[in-house]
C-alpha cells in the first residue's frame, strides 16, 4: 500500500502531503526532511526508486516538482510510478497544462483530486474521464451552493431594505 504521498519542490518546499498510515506531526516533519535530503540530491539519470527504512519511495520529477509515494518493499514499483503519472495527467487535464503555481494557489483542488484517485493507500479509479467527471460534479455543487447563498442574501437584502 501507499503509506504517504509527498509533493516537494526542487527548493524543498512542501506542496502536498497525504498520510495513509498514522504518523504523528513530529514524525511527519522528520520523514519530509529525510526524504527531501535523499531525493532532491539524486542525479537525473538514476532510477525512480529509493530504499528508505525498509520501505521504498517511488518518485518522479515533473519540472520543478517531485512527486513521491512511499510503498512497502514487496509492492510493485512500476505500478506506483504510473499512479504518479496518472495523477499528474489528471491534474494536467483539470488545470490545463498544470504548473507548480496552480498547485500552490489551488492546493485544495489537488487534495480533492487525490482523494478521487487514492483511498486507503490503494488506487481507487484508473479512468481519467471518471475522475474528471466527479471533480466537475463537486465543483458544480460548490458553485450551486454559492449561488443559492448569494441569491438568499439578495432576498434578505431586499427584504430588509
Amino acid at each position: 500500500m501507499i503509506h504517504f504521498v509527498l509533493l516537494i519542490s526542487r527548493q524543498g518546499k512542501v506542496r502536498l502531503t497525504k498520510w495513509y498510515s498514522p504518523y504523528s506531526q513530529k514524525e511527519r516533519t522528520k520523514v519530509i526532511r529525510e526524504l527531501s535530503g535523499m531525493i532532491l540530491t539524486r542525479g537525473p539519470k538514476l532510477c525512480n526508486f529509493v530504499e528508505w527504512r525498509g520501505y521504498k519511495v517511488v518518485y518522479k520529477r515533473y519540472a520543478s516538482l517531485y512527486f513521491c509515494m512511499c510503498i512497502d518493499q514487496e509492492d510493485n514499483e512500476l505500478e506506483v510510478l504510473e499512479i504518479i503519472h496518472h495523477f499528474v495527467e489528471i491534474l494536467d487535464r483539470y488545470f490545463g497544462s498544470v504548473c507548480e503555481l496552480d498547485l500552490i494557489f489551488n492546493f485544495h483542488k489537488a487534495y480533492y483530486i487525490l482523494d478521487e484517485l487514492v483511498i486507503a493507500g490503494e488506487l481507487q479509479e484508473s479512468s481519467k474521464k471518471t475522475v474528471a467527471r466527479l471533480i466537475a460534479a463537486q465543483d458544480s455543487l460548490v458553485e450551486a451552493a454559492k449561488e443559492e447563498a448569494s441569491s438568499l442574501s439578495n432576498i434578505i437584502a431586499q427584504a430588509t431594505k
Binding site: 518546499k13 512542501v14 506542496r15 502536498l16 502531503t17 497525504k18 495513509y20 498514522p22 504518523y23 504523528s24 506531526q25 516533519t29 519530509i32 542525479g43 539519470k45 538514476l46 532510477c47 525512480n48 526508486f49 529509493v50 530504499e51 510493485n76 514499483e77 512500476l78 505500478e79 510510478l81 504510473e82 499512479i83 503519472h85 496518472h86 488545470f95 496552480d102 500552490i104 494557489f105 489551488n106 492546493f107 485544495h108 483542488k109 487534495y111 480533492y112 482523494d115 483511498i119 486507503a120 490503494e122 488506487l123 481507487q124 479509479e125 484508473s126 479512468s127 481519467k128 474521464k129 471518471t130 466527479l134 460534479a137 463537486q138 455543487l141 460548490v142 458553485e143 451552493a145 454559492k146
Partner: protein
C-alpha cells in the same frame, strides 16, 4: 485559476511567496496564526465562508511545516455542517491534519456514520473517503457493517461502492475481525463479477488483503481472478477509458496477479492452463517501446507476471524463460528496469533452484555494484550475497572487499557484515578466510564487530595447520604504520598464542614480536590493554630459554599496571606478576588455549534473525545451509591439550587439574547442575553472580549455554581473570549434551519491557519465539500470543495453560497442538480485571521438539498498570480530591529506600509509560512529581488515583510516596506496584538469574517470581 472567491487565502499565499527569507516567512505565519486564533475564539461571529477560509489557511501553514496546535476542533466541526461546501472542507482538512490516533476524531464518529447511512450520495463519498484514509479501530468497530452494506448494495452507484470497498479494506487492516469470513467469502466472489472497472479495481485491492490473511476462505475467488486476468490480457470488452497507453488497466492486472500469489497452488487443471496461457502471453509479448509510460506500465505487468510464475513454480521451461528475461533486464540502459531485474533475480534465487543460470550473469551483476545509483548498488549487493556459494565465493568476496574501499558510509556496515558471513560460510580454505577477515578489519575496522574477530580466533585455535599462517599474517599487519584497534586486538591475541611457531623466521624472535606489539600500547584504549598484557605473559612463557632482558621489560610493565585504575588491567597485571614467580606453574597456566567446541556462528545466526521470516527466505536459507563449505567445520579431533571441560577462562588454564579431575569432570558435565570439580587454590575473589552476569553480556558466540558451566567459571576466576569481552570469547560452553533448551535473551527483562509497552517478545529460544500484542480498554483487555516456530520441523504437543490469579478472568482461545515449520499461530486471550491486585498471571507453556520436551512458565504482562487510563487533572480538580482522601486506608504514605537512581525526567518518563500521567506544575516543589490516572476493574469501575512522589535531590535512592484513591485495596496495591517498579532493576543479570526453561521434571527456579507463583498455584 484563482481560488474561487477566497481572496484572503490567495493574498496570504502570495505574501508567503514574497517573503525574502525563512525569518520573514515565520513572522508572517505567526501573524496569521494569531489572527486565525482570535477569529476562532469568538466563533459566533464567523460565517461558514470565513470558517472555511481559516481552516484552509491552517492546512496551508501546516503543510509549510509549522506546528498548528489549535483549530482542529473547528475543522472537525465543519464536518457536521449541513451544506456541501463546508462539509467538504471539513472532511478534507480533518483527514489531512489528524491521524487515526487523534482524540478529536472520536467526536466525529457519529456525524460520519450519519453521513454514511444517510441518503445523500455526495456526503457518503466524503465520509467513506475520510474513514478510508484515517479511520482507526474504533471506526472499524462501529462502521464496518454499514460500509459492507454499501459495497454490496445494488442501489448504490459505482462512485460510492468503490470508495466503500477501499474503506472496508482500511477497516479490515485496523481490525481483521470486522470482516466475518463465513459470510463474506461468497460476497467477495460475487463482487469480482463487477462490470464497473473502478469498483472492480478497488475490490481487487480488498481481495489482496483478505487472501493474504486467509486464502482458504476465498478459494472461490481464484477462478474469477483468472477470468478477470484473461479478459484484460486479451483486451476483450475493456472500455476505452480504462486502457492506459493502450494497455488494459495495468493496475487491475497487477492487483489480480498479486491476489493469485497468495494461493499456494492452482489445482483445477483448466484454470491453471488458462492462467499459464495468459502468463506466457505476457512474458513473450512485452516489448520495450519508446514511450516511457507505456513501457513502465507494461513492465509493471510483466514483473508481476514473473513473480506469479516464480510463485507457482511452473514447468522449468517457463522458469528459464524468466531468468533469461531478467538477464536481459540487468544489462539494459533504463535504470528502473535494471533495478527491478536485480531485485527480481534475488527473489528468484529464493524460490527455485536456478542458481547456476543466474551465475552466468555474475560479471554483469558485479558491474552493477559500480553503478552510479546507490539503489542499484544495493540491489546488486543483495543479489551477490544471495548467489554466493563455495564455487564463486572467492570472486564475489574479493569484489566486495574492493568495493568496501569506495562504498559510501551508509553501506559499509552492511557490506562488512555480508563479507564476514560469506567468508565464513563459503571459505574454500581456511587461510583464505583469515586473509579476508584481516583485510576486512584493515579496511573497515570500525564496522567489524567483536563477533567477527572472535570467530577468527576460534578457527585459528581449532585448526593447528592454520596457526603459523595466521601468526605470520598478524605480524605483517602489525608492521603497518596506522592500524585499527581491532587489528591490534586480533593480531596480538594470535601472536601471543602462536608467535613461538614463527620463532625461526627473521624478525620474529620473541623480543621483536614483543616490541612490535608494545609499540601499539600507547595508542590503544583500556579495553585492549588487558589483551596486550595477556599476550606479554604468553610471550614470556614461550621464551625458552628465558631472556632476562625481555623478562625484566615485561615484568616492569606488569608492575607499572599493578596500580592501574582500571580494575581489569590491574587484576591481570597483578596476577601475571604473581604467576611469573611460580616457574613451572606458569607454563601450565599459560599453556595454549584448548579448542573451542563447535557451535553455530553468532554472525550467521544474527543475519538469519534479521532476515524477515518469510517462507521464501527460509528456502534460500535452507539452500545455503546445504551448500555451505565444510572447510570451516570445526572438527572434534583430539588436540594436544585435550578438550578441557573446565574453565576456559581467559588465556589461563587451571593449574592443578589432574587427569583424574578431568575424568571426573567429564563424567559430571552431563548432569544439569553438577558442579564441575575444579580444584581452586584460592577462594573466589570477584564473582558475585550478578557481576558475572553483566560481564557475560557481550558473550560473542551464542551456543546454547548450559547453566552448569557457570559455577565453574565462578570458582576459577580466583586464578583467572574476570571475564571481559575478550574472555567472553573464551567462555566456551562444554559440549552441549544437556537437554536443556536455553532461552535467548533474558525473560525477566523481556517481561519488564512488556510492563511498559504493549507489544514485544515475551520469550524466545532456539525453536520458538513467543510474541505478544495487547490492547487494553477500561477493565477489558485482549492479549494476542504469537507463537512462531523458528524451525524447518514442526513443534508438536504444544500446550498453553493459563494460571490466572483470582482477580483476573482470562479466556484463552484454542491453542493448536502442532505448529507447522516456520509458521506463526496467534492465540488471543480475553482478559477481564475483576478487582485491584498486583498478582501476575502465568502462562505455562510446553512443546516438544524432536525428543526434547521444553516447558516454561512465563509471566503474562496483564498487570495492574494495564488497567490504568492516564488522565490529566488541573490544579482545581486535583487539590479538592487530594484533600478529600484524607488518610489511611484511602491515602497511604511510605518512604521507599533502595530506589534505582534516576533523574526526575527519567522518572516522569517511567511514570508516563506506566500510564500514570505526570501533571507538571501541580506541585510547587520542583523536586516532586504528581501523577494521576484512572483505574478500571469490574468491582471498582473507573476510579481516580492520585500519586505524589517527593524526591530528595541529595539522595536519589530514596523518596517518599503518597498514593490516594477511593478504594483501600486499590491504594495499597497501586502503592506496592509503583514501589516494585521503582526498585526493580530492569537490566537484570542475564546469566545469573536462571529463569531458564527446565526439563519438566525439575522444580521451577526460585529466582523468577512468576515461576514461583506458578509453583504455589
Amino acid at each position: 485559476m484563482a481560488l474561487s472567491g477566497m481572496r484572503g487565502l490567495s493574498v496570504f499565499i502570495s505574501d508567503i511567496r514574497n517573503c525574502q527569507n525563512k525569518e520573514q516567512e515565520r513572522l508572517r505565519v505567526d501573524k496569521e496564526l494569531g489572527n486565525v486564533r482570535t477569529r476562532f475564539k469568538n466563533e459566533k461571529g464567523l460565517t461558514p465562508y470565513e470558517k472555511k477560509k481559516y481552516v484552509w489557511k491552517m492546512l496551508y501553514i501546516y503543510m509549510l511545516g509549522y506546528d498548528v496546535d489549535f483549530g482542529h476542533m473547528e475543522a472537525v466541526s465543519l464536518i457536521s455542517a449541513p451544506k456541501y461546501p463546508e462539509k467538504q472542507v471539513g472532511y478534507i482538512v480533518t483527514s489531512c491534519l489528524l491521524n487515526e490516533n487523534h482524540d478529536f476524531l472520536r467526536l466525529a464518529i457519529n456525524t460520519v456514520r450519519n453521513d454514511i447511512i444517510g441518503r445523500n450520495e455526495t456526503f457518503q463519498c466524503l465520509a467513506l473517503t475520510l474513514v478510508g484514509n484515517i479511520g482507526g479501530r474504533e471506526f472499524a468497530e462501529s462502521l464496518a457493517p454499514d460500509v459492507q452494506k454499501l459495497l454490496i448494495s445494488s442501489s448504490c452507484r459505482p462512485l460510492v461502492r468503490k470508495k466503500a470497498a477501499l474503506c472496508l479494506l482500511r477497516l479490515f487492516r485496523k481490525n481483521p475481525d470486522v470482516v466475518n469470513v463465513d459470510g463474506w467469502s461468497d460476497r467477495m466472489a460475487q463482487l469480482l463479477d463487477e462490470r464497473d472497472f473502478g469498483v472492480l479495481t478497488s475490490c481487487m485491492s480488498l481481495l489482496v488483503a483478505l487472501v493474504a490473511s486467509n486464502h482458504e476462505a476465498y478459494w472461490s475467488c481464484l477462478p474469477k481472478c483468472v477470468k478477470v486476468l484473461e479478459r484484460l490480457a486479451r483486451n476483450q470488452d475493456i472500455p476505452q477509458e480504462y486502457t492506459y497507453y493502450g494497455i488494459p488497466s495495468p493496475w487491475l492486472q497487477v492487483k489480480t496477479m498479486r491476489s493469485l500469489q497468495y494461493f499456494p497452488t492452482i489445482e483445477d487443471p483448466s484454470t491453471r492452463r488458462s492462467l499459464f496461457e495468459v502468463l506466457q502471453r505476457i512474458l513473450m509479448g512485452t516489448d520495450v517501446v519508446k514511450n516511457v509510460n507505456k513501457n513502465n506500465a507494461s513492465h509493471a505487468v510483466l514483473f508481476e507476471a514473473l513473480a506469479l510464475v516464480m510463485h507457482l513454480d511452473a514447468e522449468k521451461e517457463m522458469m528459464s524463460q524468466c531468468v533469461a528475461l531478467l538477464g536481459k533486464f540487468i544489462a539494459v540502459r533504463e535504470p528502473n528496469i535494471r533495478y527491478l531485474g536485480l531485485e527480481n533475480m534475488t527473489r528468484m534465487l529464493m524460490v527455485t533452484d536456478v542458481q547456476d543460470i543466474i551465475k552466468r550473469h555474475q560479471a554483469q551483476i558485479i558491474t552493477s555494484l559500480k553503478d552510479p545509483d546507490i539503489s542499484i548498488r544495493r540491489r546488486a549487493l543483495d543479489l551477490l550475497y544471495g548467489m554466493c556459494d563455495v564455487s564463486n565465493a572467492k570472486d564475489i568476496v574479493e569484489e566486495l572487499l574492493q568495493y568496501l574501499s569506495t562504498a559510501e558510509f551508509v553501506m559499509r556496515e552492511e557490506l562488512s557484515l555480508k563479507i564476514a558471513i560469506l567468508a565464513e560460510k563459503f571459505a574454500p580454505d581456511l587461510s583464505w578466510y583469515v586473509d579476508v577477515i584481516l583485510q576486512l578489519i584493515d579496511k573497515a575496522g570500525d564496522f567489524v564487530s567483536d563477533d567477527i574477530w572472535f570467530r577468527v580466533v576460534q578457527f585459528v585455535t581449532n585448526n593447528e595447520d592454520l596457526q603459523p599462517y595466521a601468526a605470520l599474517k598478524s605480524r605483517e599487519y602489525l608492521d603497518k604504520p596506522a592500524i585499527h584497534e581491532t587489528m591490534v586486538k586480533v593480531s596480538s591475541y594470535i601472536l601471543g598464542e602462536y608467535s613461538h611457531l614463527l620463532a625461526r623466521r627473521p624478525g620474529c624472535s620473541p623480543k621483536e614480536i614483543f616490541s612490535l606489539i608494545h609499540e601499539k600500547l600507547p595508542t590503544v584504549s583500556t579495553s585492549t590493554i588487558p589483551i596486550l598484557l595477556s599476550t606479554y605473559a604468553k610471550i614470556l612463557m614461550h621464551t625458552q630459554p628465558p631472556d632476562p632482558e625481555l623478562q625484566n621489560q615485561i615484568l616492569a610493565i606488569f608492575r607499572k599496571y599493578e596500580s592501574c585504575i582500571d580494575a581489569e588491567i590491574q587484576q591481570r597485571a597483578v596476577e601475571y606478576l604473581e604467576l611469573s614467580k611460580k616457574g613451572a606453574a606458569l607454563m601450565d597456566v599459560l599453556a595454549e588455549m584448548p579448542k573451542f567446541p563447535e557451535r553455530q556462528s553468532s554472525l550467521i545466526k544474527k543475519a538469519e534473525d534479521t532476515e524477515a521470516d518469510t517462507a521464501e527466505q527460509s528456502a534460500i536459507r535452507l539452500r545455503t545451509q546445504q551448500q555451505t563449505s565444510n572447510a570451516l567445520a570445526v572438527t572434534d579431533q583430539p588436540s594436544a591439550n585435550g578438550t578441557l571441560p573446565v574453565s576456559h577462562l581467559g588465556l589461563v588454564k587451571v593449574p592443578s587439574m589432574t587427569n583424574a579431575d578431568r575424568n571426573l569432570a567429564d563424567q559430571r558435565e552431563s548432569e544439569p547442575d553438577g558442579t564441575l570439580t575444579v580444584v581452586d587454590p584460592q577462594p573466589p575473589s570477584v564473582p558475585s553472580p550478578d557481576v558475572l552476569g553483566d560481564l557475560l553480556g557481550p558473550l560473542a558466540i551464542e551456543g546454547p549455554q548450559p547453566a552448569a558451566t557457570l559455577p565453574a567459571h565462578n570458582l576459577s576466576s580466583g586464578v583467572g581473570i574476570a571475564p571481559n569481552a575478550e574472555d567472553a570469547l573464551a567462555l566456551a560452553p562444554i559440549e552441549e549434551q544437556t537437554a536443556t533448551v536455553q532461552p535467548i535473551g533474558n525473560i525477566a527483562e523481556r517481561f519488564q519491557a512488556l510492563v511498559l509497552k504493549d507489544s514485544g517478545i515475551l520469550y524466545e529460544d532456539p525453536y520458538i519465539q513467543i510474541g505478544t500484542k495487547a490492547e487494553w480498554r477500561a477493565h477489558h483487555g485482549r492479549l494476542v500470543l504469537f507463537l512462531g516456530n523458528k524451525n524447518t520441523a514442526p513443534l508438536v504437543s504444544v500446550q498453553a495453560l493459563i494460571l490466572p490469579p483470582s482477580h483476573l478472568r482470562i479466556e484463552l482461545s484454542l491453542v493448536p497442538e502442532t505448529i507447522p515449520p516456520r509458521a506463526q499461530v496467534q492465540c488471543p486471550l480475553e482478559v477481564v480485571n475483576l478487582r485491584p491486585s498486583r498478582d501476575v498471571a502465568v502462562l505455562d507453556f510446553s512443546y516438544n521438539f524432536g525428543a526434547q520436551l521444553v516447558n516454561v512458565k512465563l509471566r503474562l504482562p496483564a498487570i495492574l498498570n494495564k488497567f490504568l487510563q492516564p488522565i490529566t487533572v488541573s490544579a482545581e480538580e486535583f487539590f479538592p480530591q487530594w484533600r478529600s482522601l484524607s488518610g489511611p486506608p484511602l491515602k497511604l504514605q511510605e518512604v521507599v529506600r533502595g530506589v534505582r537512581p534516576m533523574s526526575l525526567l527519567e522518572m516522569t518518563n517511567l511514570f508516563n509509560s506506566l500510564r500514570l500521567m505526570v501533571c507538571p506544575g501541580l506541585d510547587p516543589n520542583a523536586n516532586n512529581l504528581v501523577a494521576s490516572t484512572t483505574f478500571y476493574s469490574d468491582s471498582t469501575r473507573a476510579m481516580l488515583c492520585l500519586v505524589r512522589i517527593e524526591t530528595d535531590p541529595a539522595d536519589r535512592t530514596q523518596l517518599r510516596m503518597t498514593v490516594a484513591s477511593g478504594d483501600p485495596t486499590l491504594t495499597f496495591e497501586l502503592k506496592e506496584f509503583i514501589k516494585e517498579q521503582l526498585i526493580i532493576i530492569p537490566t537484570a543479570p542475564t546469566a545469573a538469574a536462571p529463569p531458564v526453561p527446565q526439563p519438566t521434571s525439575s522444580s521451577p527456579p526460585v529466582s523468577d517470581p512468576g515461576a514461583l507463583l506458578a509453583g504455589l498455584l
